[in-house]
């Protein structure tokens, strides 16, 4: 049986907040693993979190083939807001296009920011999606 990975209190509270929001929101833990996205985000990406489960953030993002806003160029991982917030521990914002699980191209703006607990312990990131 795999060992239980208990979530940090900040992630537990962040999830509770996200589950109450109508703003599409996702949460990534300190290892870079997507651990939750809310119902509003499910509507954007066309896939329920219960079906996805926890998985590496980059794998999840890549599955939606993010591209530049004109749709011409793939958006590399290092240019995605969630990856920037995770790697550089700073807020990041970008507009891009994804192809949702239902096959529809959607233009999004994503704002991601790092989460720090007391004594500056990095515990993960939150990202919110805006449809523009």
């Amino acid at each position: 049986m795999p060992e239980t990975r208990y979530k940090h209190l900040v992630l537990i509270l962040a999830r509770e907040l996200a589950s109450s929001l109508s703003t599409p929101t996702m949460i990534v833990d300190e290892r870079g693993c997507l651990v939750y996205y809310n119902e509003a985000a499910e509507a954007v990406v066309g896939r329920r979190f219960a079906e996805t489960g926890e998985m590496p953030m980059d794998d999840w993002t890549a599955s939606f083939a993010p591209r530049s806003i004109d749709g011409a160029e793939p958006l590399p991982a290092e240019a995605r807001p969630a990856r920037i917030a995770f790697d550089e521990r700073r807020p990041a914002h970008e507009r891009f296009v994804i192809r949702s699980a239902d096959g529809v191209d959607r233009e999004l703006a994503v704002t991601a920011f790092p989460l720090f607990a007391h004594s500056d312990e990095f515990v993960g990131i939150m990202a919110i999606f805006w449809r523009e």
Partner: protein, 279 residues
């Protein structure tokens, strides 16, 4: 491992005839380790009486583990006799804060107008430690501290020895992060501390109807204490952090309510002077 409860009242000391049976002193537990080491959980007013016993026993080394710095968990420290004994080394552990060190925060209660003597003038050799993020060891016991749901930086503690495991969550409102029974264990505040513990001392300050008017104050209803115990698989629940307005008879009704909810788990009330031996 042997635990002795020196204080289990929440929020405010409540001496008097209505609280004789379960006691009016605020949180303090002595943990005597198999190795001979001594841990003290919290410095509520119960620590005053404990301190007198420790002086009599000639104890020279004490590790004090603070869950947080709300007054009811700290106010006894100034009257803890070993603090005023130059032969004593006192290691104080507590939750980190982004702004002030543990010493700076505790110093506030050793300064005018709250107290006439500065922390720097105490006789004991006092050392301050932020609790580590990883498991650490004192006197052969493995210790774990994790932030839990309660206003301000607050941790719960888990103590493990060959004799068993104890989880101490005196001030904890896990239901504030969503209904406990609907969550998997890894998403429950405090579960990392209490999972499968042999003994859990948990906040159960309110009856369910009292809790409805106090959501967000950082404490649990008796129903949530039972739900938490079940969710994390702890084997024994001791109801802790008694509401100051609850008399002995009120507490006994609370215990009955817990037993109705918990069935074979058979929770019991913490009381001053109670000793629990593990295993």
């Amino acid at each position: 491992m042997r635990l002795t409860i020196w204080g289990c009242r929440g929020s405010l000391p409540t001496p008097g005839p209505r609280t004789v049976e379960y006691g009016g002193n605020t949180s303090c537990i002595e943990v005597a380790l198999e190795s001979g080491g001594l841990l003290v959980l919290d410095a509520g007013t119960g620590i005053r009486e404990l301190g007198l016993h420790l002086v009599e026993r000639g104890v020279r080394q004490v590790h004090l583990l603070l869950t947080h710095l709300h007054l009811d968990h700290l106010e006894g420290l100034r009257f803890f006799a070993p603090l005023w004994d130059e032969r004593v080394t006192l290691d104080i552990w507590g939750p980190p804060s982004p702004l002030l060190s543990l010493r700076e925060r505790i110093s506030r209660s050793f300064s005018p107008p709250l107290f006439p003597v500065d922390l720097g003038e105490v006789d004991a050799h006092v050392r301050f430690h932020d609790v580590p993020r990883a498991v650490w060891t004192i006197g052969g016991a493995s210790l774990t501290a994790r932030l839990v749901v309660h206003p301000g930086p607050t941790v719960g503690y888990r103590i493990e020895t060959e004799g068993g495991s104890v989880a101490y969550l005196p001030d904890h409102e896990p239901a504030l992060a969503g209904a406990i029974a609907e969550k998997s264990r890894d998403w429950i505040s405090g579960a990392a501390i209490a999972a499968d513990a042999d003994l859990l001392l948990h906040d159960s300050q309110f009856f369910e109807d009292e809790y409805e008017a106090r959501i967000g104050w950082g404490h649990s209803s008796v129903a949530d204490a039972v739900a938490f115990t079940r969710a994390v698989g702890a084997r024994r629940l001791v109801l802790f952090h008694h509401e100051p307005s609850h008399s002995d008879s009120s507490l006994e009704r609370l215990e009955k309510r817990a037993q109705e909810l918990a069935g074979e788990l058979a929770p019991t009330l913490a009381r001053e002077g109670m000793a629990i031996e593990l295993p």
